[in-house]
C-alpha cells in the first residue's frame, strides 16, 4: 500500500465506527513508515483535543426558559385542545388499500343513507331554521370568548396563565377594535412574562397595516430587554417598513448593552430601509 492510499484511510483508523478491510493493510504500512505514523499522530492529537475541549455550562436561564415554554404550551393546549390533536406521522397506506378504501367508503355511504332514511323523517323545512339558529349561537359563543379575553387582558396583575389565555382569546378576533389592540399593545409593553409579550406581538403582527399597532410596537421597542422579544420586534418593524423606527434601531445597533444578535438584527433592518 502506498503512502497516499494509507493517508486516505488514516481518518478511518481514528474512528471506532469505521471498520474497513483496508484499515488492516494501512496498519501494516504504518508499521514501517515514519511519515505516515507522524501524520496519524497529528490527526489523533487534533481529534482528541477537539473531543476534550473544555466547554462552558449553559446558564440557568436556559432551563428556566425551557420549563416556562412547556408550561405556556400546556396552557395553550388546554385552551385549544383541537390544535394538539393533529395526525401523528404521515399516513402511508399499503397499495391494496388504494383499491379497497373507495369501495369501503361507498358501501358505508350507502348504508348510512338507507339507515338514515328509515330512521328519521325528512325535515327539509326545519333545516334552514336550525342552521340560522346554530349560526346565531356560534356568534354568541365567539363574542363571549372575546369578551372573556378582553377582561383577562385587562387584569395585568392576574396569574400568567390567565393573561396568556387573554392574549390568545384576543388574537382570535379577525377585526379587533382599537380597544383590543390597545390591550394587546399594553401586554406587549408591560407584561413581565416574555412568552406573553411574544404572543401579544404575534397577535399584533397580522394587523401591522394599522398605524395604532405600528406606533405601539415602536413604543415597546426601547423598553424591551429580552433579546428574543427584541429580535421579534425588530423583525416586525423591518417587515412593516416603518421608517419612524429608524432612530430606535440606530440606538439599538449601537447599544453596547444589547445582545450581539440584537445589534446585528437592528443594523440589518436599518440597511433594509
Amino acid at each position: 500500500m502506498t503512502c497516499q492510499r494509507t493517508r486516505d484511510i488514516l481518518p478511518d483508523l481514528l474512528d471506532e465506527r469505521s471498520v474497513s478491510g483496508a484499515a488492516s493493510e494501512a496498519r501494516a504500512h504504518l508499521a514501517g513508515c515514519v511519515g505516515c505514523q507522524r501524520e496519524l499522530a497529528g490527526l489523533t492529537e487534533t481529534a482528541t483535543a477537539l473531543d476534550t475541549m473544555p466547554l462552558p455550562q449553559p446558564s440557568p436561564r436556559l432551563r428556566q426558559n425551557f420549563y416556562a415554554m412547556v408550561e405556556a404550551e400546556k396552557q395553550a393546549d388546554a385552551i385549544n385542545p383541537l390544535a394538539s390533536a393533529r395526525p401523528q406521522g404521515p399516513m402511508r397506506p399499503a397499495g391494496w388499500r388504494w383499491f379497497f378504501v373507495p369501495f369501503a367508503a361507498c358501501a358505508l355511504l350507502a348504508v348510512g343513507f338507507f339507515t338514515g332514511r328509515q330512521a328519521t323523517p325528512v325535515q327539509v323545512a326545519d333545516d334552514t331554521a336550525t342552521r340560522t339558529e346554530l349560526k346565531k349561537l356560534q356568534e354568541q359563543v365567539n363574542k363571549m370568548g372575546r369578551l372573556v379575553g378582553y377582561s383577562l387582558l385587562q387584569q395585568q396583575q392576574g396569574p400568567a396563565n390567565d393573561r396568556l389565555r387573554g392574549v390568545l382569546a384576543s388574537a382570535q378576533a379577525e377585526k379587533p377594535s382599537d380597544k383590543v389592540l390597545d390591550d394587546l399593545i399594553s401586554a406587549l409593553a408591560f407584561d413581565p412574562n416574555a412568552n406573553i409579550r411574544l404572543r401579544a406581538l404575534e397577535a399584533l403582527s397580522s394587523h401591522a397595516d394599522r398605524a395604532l399597532v405600528r406606533a405601539g410596537v415602536l413604543a415597546a421597542l426601547p423598553r424591551e430587554q429580552n433579546p428574543l422579544v427584541q429580535l421579534e420586534l425588530i423583525d416586525f418593524v423591518a417587515a412593516a417598513r416603518d421608517r419612524a423606527a429608524a432612530p430606535a434601531l440606530e440606538r439599538l445597533a449601537q447599544s453596547e448593552g444589547a445582545d450581539r444578535s440584537v445589534r446585528d438584527a437592528a443594523s440589518l433592518a436599518l440597511a433594509r430601509f
Binding site: G42, M53, L228
Partner: protein, 183 residues
C-alpha cells in the same frame, strides 16, 4: 419523544435534561459564542415542541434533534449575517486583537484557545460536519441523513475537515501572520 407527540408535554423535560448539555456543547463549538449557543439551544427545544407532530419514529431522537439544531443554527447565522467569531471573555483575553499577528498574542501553551480559534476559522460547513462526526452518539448514516448527502460523502467531508482544522491549528501555533482558513 413519542410520548411528547402524543400530548405528554412533561416528557420533553426528561429529554431536555438528558440532551441539553451535549447539544449546548455542540452549539458552542459551532457558533463560537456561548450566548448564541444558548439562544439557539432554546430555539431547538421550542421547535421540538412546535413541530412535535412531525416527529417520526424513524432513526434516533438525537439525529432528529441535531437536524433541528443545524437548521436553527443556520437561521441564527442568517440573522446575524456574519460568520461566527469567538467572543467569549476568555477568548478575548487570549486574543486581545483579531488583527494579523493576533496568534502571537495567544499563550503558546494554551492549546485549547488555539484550537477554538482554529475551529472558528474553519469553513462553516466543514465545522458542522466535523463536530457532528466527533459526536459519538450519531452514526455516519444518521449524519449523512442530517446533512442530506451520502454516507461516503459525509465521511470524506469529515476527514477533510479534520485535516483542514489541523492545518489551521498548526499555522496558528507557528505564529503564521495570515491565517484565514478556507473562509
Amino acid at each position: 419523544m413519542l410520548a411528547v407527540r402524543g400530548g405528554e408535554l412533561d416528557a420533553l423535560g426528561e429529554l431536555f435534561e438528558r440532551h441539553h448539555g451535549p447539544l449546548f456543547g455542540f452549539l458552542v463549538k459551532l457558533t463560537g459564542h456561548r450566548e448564541a449557543a444558548e439562544d439557539v439551544a432554546q430555539t431547538v427545544f421550542q421547535r421540538m415542541l412546535k413541530y412535535r407532530h412531525t416527529y417520526r419514529d424513524e432513526g434516533s431522537f438525537a439525529a432528529w434533534m441535531y437536524h433541528l439544531a443545524r437548521r436553527c443554527a443556520a437561521d441564527h447565522f442568517r440573522k446575524s449575517n456574519a460568520a461566527p467569531h469567538p467572543t467569549d471573555p476568555s477568548d478575548l483575553q487570549a486574543h486581545a486583537d483579531d488583527a494579523p499577528h493576533a496568534a502571537h498574542q495567544a499563550t503558546v501553551g494554551d492549546d485549547h484557545a488555539l484550537l477554538r480559534t482554529a475551529l472558528a476559522r474553519l469553513d462553516h460547513g466543514d465545522r458542522e460536519v466535523l463536530l457532528l462526526a466527533r459526536f459519538q452518539e450519531l452514526s455516519f448514516a444518521e449524519i449523512s441523513g442530517i446533512l442530506e448527502c451520502s454516507v461516503g460523502a459525509a465521511k470524506v467531508r469529515a476527514h477533510r475537515a479534520l485535516r483542514e482544522l489541523r492545518a489551521i491549528y498548526l499555522r496558528l501555533q507557528h505564529g503564521h501572520p495570515n491565517v484565514a482558513g478556507s473562509e
